[in-house]
Symmetry: D3
Subunit: 140 residues, 6 copies
């Protein structure tokens, strides 16, 4: 039997977004997205849970040291925290910043940084838009 | 590699229930179920987490629109919210409304409605009886 | 200047209740209380916060020892936990078990027991029916 | 001795805001408000706790019926939920939408509506910007 | 009428402590403090809520800028976070680090720093030892 | 298709720990573990989620009766609750009590007791060190 050990670290960020498909009329946007289509956007306290899989280092008892994880998170969140995701973030120029899309974008960015800076692999990304709504994303 | 995207929506409902097996004596019910066998029942603020899997629609950035999910939840919860599950709910006429059974019943009802009204499939049902006790149910 | 030190202990209990005024018609009960008037009742995970004021004992650094508080709570909750408050509790024979009334009843019972068993005084009772709805009660 | 009974109801809303004083230079705004001065704003899941004091009606056991409170909240939140408070809300045309100012504005609006529609009085407004930061406001 | 505006900021710290009165026998310590008297101590994720009262600055809309509050908190928590409060903190050399005493010590330290560095006054200190047990402390 | 039913029960314990590798110099310990290497340790309110898989007994509607689970948890937690894990627990004599190692140890102990006392199998152990950091462990 194989043992599986996953470490999950949660970080929070505050951002705003707007649901708007530029290929659609204002009426259709309003019909599909409701108040999420309001012109100036609205915002959330997002929570991001990053789940990492790896082998436990017998010298440290850890999969990964949080001191090594922190700069990765700080670097990634610079484009998300206190930003309007439609206006002020390079990843949503052509894509609506729904929770589904945010999770996928964060998977790609964090996964790449983890691969470059550690022996661990990204297992799953979870993004909470509110405590009652969240998306899980992973590749398998 | 395949990407997996899951959306989870949590909704709450308040209900009461009683653990009582009519095939057993009062003594045995009391011995097995303790204070959960009290005659008039007791209650909980249940939380239901419905996890849905689907493809992200490139036009909306969503697996499923919450505006489409809401009528399904409203319809299902009519039999659960502010009800005594043993007395006032069609699903527990012959079955004790434990968290395990509630999760299975909700899987069946919600799964059927999702299949009829969306391109998504139900991935998992989680029911919290209290913040410290919950059941996951799925078919695979 | 006087220092004020308050200790608050939270305990949880699960109960069911029904809002029903026997002096009213079924129609009026339904109109005023809505689904809370359903015949068999419904339930909640209540949280009770008991706030106590007293002097800090220099030998223990405590207002009151939790080991002394626990039997008081256990004794009080015997009539509330896993009960239907309308049917199975001595305090609501002639009174609707709303959160307001539950808070007042608990103030009276716990205040009397504290006075008999400690040098502290009850400062405030808070009862959460759900995380989004609570009542504070005190005498001054 | 007088008894005091307070009922608190929490409601949530999602909004965005920007900290920017138009009388100041961009440099000074940046220095004082940091990333909260970012051009397009950012957002939060705000929680609003409305605390109401009143006499318990012996016929209902309630200070105020939640069915009477709900239309007041719905009406008030129309200007806050899914809005950019600087751009899309009538109350912050000349005022920075900090948590302190949001609490004062909500006190004024809700207090007036309560006075016109109930026998209760507003006791306190609490606004959470995040779970770790909140403001209380009241008049005395 | 006067308006009152309070800002509360929560910060967390992890510490260990032991309840032990050196004037007492081991038996008495064990009897009074139970497992809290265990030799090597145990620990908690404490949450500290600092509530501040002040006038809202019309230029900023704030009582106090969080950027000014942060260095005060960082400075104070150096003696508490990741410390054994009995062994490794200057304030509990002759005092048992109960939640009551921790709250009073934090009131004194933070109140002094606030007075020296701001126009605000400390209104209340709340310390959570666990989510179910907390102490409020203030001077009046 | 097969149905899967999992029951998860959460229990809390308070403990302290220290990250220290005796094969390393003090400098290296300080460099790798930072303030977690402080001499006297620090502590946490840990939360343990035990997830169990089994068949639902048609007579009880349960996978396992919580009355049968409680003595197992009580027995296990005797070595963890209100303990310094490095000094006062038999499992960490030669192993650093990181969250990863705590999860593995608890898997082994609880899994064995479940096997001896029930028809269920342990599915997963989750240990929260703080609400923002947790480890999942299982064998497959």
């Amino acid at each position: 039997m194989n043992n599986r050990t996953l470490l999950t670290k949660r970080v929070d960020f505050s951002a705003s977004h707007r649901y708007w498909n530029p290929k659609w009329s204002a009426e259709r946007n309003k019909k599909v997205f409701g108040k999420c289509s309001n012109k100036y956007g609205h915002g959330h306290n997002y929570s991001l849970e990053v789940t990492i899989e790896g082998d436990v280092d017998p010298d440290t008892g850890m999969i990964i040291n949080l001191y090594d994880l922190k700069p990765i998170f700080d670097d990634v969140l610079k484009d998300f925290d206190h930003k309007h995701l439609n206006e002020d973030n390079p990843y949503f120029l052509d894509m609506i910043p729904t929770t589904e899309n945010i999770a996928r974008v964060l998977w790609n960015i964090i996964g790449e940084k983890l691969q470059a800076n550690s022996n661990c692999r990204l297992y799953r990304i979870r993004v909470y838009e509110t405590p009652d709504l969240f998306v899980d994303y992973w590749l398998e």
